[in-house]
């Protein structure tokens, strides 16, 4: 019987929630890396027991953890525990993310725009998102703050920037959003190994069609009224993008304000907010079997990051946008003032699509019927930063 494994990153550690395919009884393990911020965890589609986790701390910086047994045990790739004997530096460092400023492979791009309009050095802060390769268990991508995309081809032991993204031309004009200048979304196209989509707050969405060598902004159709040129090529605060792997050319986006879709791989975007009560929000995801069924969690505003009227409502569109229905069964409908952060929603691939999301109040909700009814798997975790789900045979 199929199983699901939900990987939850929180402000104070990682948790793994497991259930059989019914998704009504759950085992909770953790906290792993207690006390550390776990921005994201994700398993390899090639080898589901290989899981990567981004472990960070304002004091101690970035750590990358990996597991090859489904999260039971963890290690820092390339680092071996020495019982005794002569010490030795590892040849590689899994937590070393160095921006490429070489003339040979990129461009010596060293600054971006700061909040006050001046230029500011690029400074690595943390890994926001980990995206394992669809075809090679040892290859994995990392989206980082300050915004850049890194790739490892040795299971996370060492990382190298894909410098064509920062160096494609608009990099000096990128600037941080309220949460920092983070590359938070990485989508690999299963139909085209050379195509990758990424998104950055607050620069926008970008695409490569040559495996990461060259990139272009894909923000045509976005309108952000708070930037000097509301239809600029870059500068949009994209909160998250999502894609159904079965229909790779269609993308959905939750922008700062506005829910958007693209039917041409990001070349053009159309607003699909429709009848949403507010179109501010962070998460967006797509039903695993119905590519026109989309989920968002509307948040009141950019000034008040909690649900409208204290009611936690997921909105679902079965028409690819514009027509949305509130999903409330099992969700708190009074006095609820949590947020749902950008990487904190996921879907499984069971026949009856399961939908999951985590809140800053520490709840992780599941719907095993595509959103019709919800229940809390856990109530009282630390604030949830990310949720991913693995469907296991």
């Amino acid at each position: 019987m199929s199983k699901v494994r939900v990987l939850v990153g929180t402000r104070k550690g990682a948790f793994i929630l497991t259930s059989d395919g019914k998704r009504d009884k759950w085992e909770v393990s953790g906290p792993f890396f207690a006390g550390w911020e776990i921005y994201h965890m994700k398993g390899s589609p090639v080898d589901p027991d290989r899981i990567y986790a981004s472990q960070t701390s304002g004091w101690f910086g970035q750590i990358l953890q990996a597991s090859t047994d489904g999260g039971k045990t963890w290690f820092q790739p390339g680092v071996k525990l020495e019982e005794a004997g002569p010490p030795a530096f590892p040849a590689k460092a899994s937590n070393r993310f160095v921006y490429d400023t070489s003339d040979a492979t990129g461009k010596p791009l060293t600054t971006h725009q700061w909040y006050d309009g001046t230029q500011h050095p690029w400074e690595f802060k943390r890994v926001w998102h980990i995206e394992p390769s669809l075809t090679d268990a040892g290859t994995v991508y990392a989206g980082v703050e300050d915004a850049a995309l890194f790739r490892s081809t040795d299971g996370g032991e060492s990382w190298h920037e894909l410098p064509g993204l920062r160096g494609h031309g608009t990099g000096p004009d990128w600037q941080p959003g309220a949460g920092g200048m983070c590359l938070h979304s990485v989508i690999l196209d299963p139909s085209n190994p050379q195509r990758i989509y990424i998104a950055i707050s607050a620069a926008g969405a970008f695409r490569t069609d040559d495996g990461g060598a060259t990139w272009k902004p894909i923000n045509k159709g976005l309108y952000s009224k708070h930037i000097p040129n509301p239809t600029a090529e870059i500068g949009h605060c994209v909160h998250h993008i999502a894609m159904n792997p079965r229909r790779p050319g269609v993308l959905f986006m939750q922008k700062h304000w506005d829910v958007m879709r693209s039917d041409d791989a990001g070349d053009n975007w159309t607003k699909i907010s429709g009848n949403l009560p507010t179109d501010f929000g962070f998460v967006i995801d797509v039903h695993s079997h119905e590519p026109e069924t989309v989920y968002v969690v509307p948040i009141k505003s950019d000034s008040e990051h909690f649900p409208l009227d204290g009611k936690l409502r997921v909105y679902r569109s079965r028409t690819g946008g514009n027509e949305w229905e509130p999903l409330t069964n099992g969700l708190p409908q009074s006095d609820c003032y949590v947020n749902v952060l950008r990487d904190a929603m996921a879907v499984d691939t069971l026949d009856e699509c399961g939908v999951y999301f985590g809140t800053t109040g520490g709840q992780v909700y599941v719907s095993s019927d595509a959103g019709d009814t919800w229940s809390a798997i856990v109530h009282d975790l630390p604030a949830v930063l990310s949720v991913e789900v693995q469907t296991l045979a």
Binding site: W59, F60, E82, F89, A93, N95
Partner: protein, 127 residues
Amino acid sequence: MARSLRHRWETGETWESMAGLQSNMAPFVRVQIPYHLRNLARIDGEVQLEVAAPVTIRTVLDALEARYPMLRGTIREHDTLARRPFLRFFACEEDLSLNPPDDPLPEVVAQGKEPLLIIGAIAGGSR
């Protein structure tokens, strides 16, 4: 020799006495690191390191990271080796954080009579 000293420490002998008895070799330098880094390195309590002279912040951290490579990048940056901003170095009730990393540490630290303390700043708390 190193294992012998460790065995003596684990069986109750003090560093002071061992340092005095082993006059022909460098004594162990004692280092205390924060809770989260002890977890990362999977160790309990104080760290004892053999550090060849001169005993400085740099040579102690070199020895610490050599023995516990999982700590690389957590106390000082990978390439610049700059101290991470929210960590401080103390010994003998003095803040040594801003001293040049090649300055000799106090003799009592070099002799293992006092520990070098690596301390996380008491800052933040908003999360």
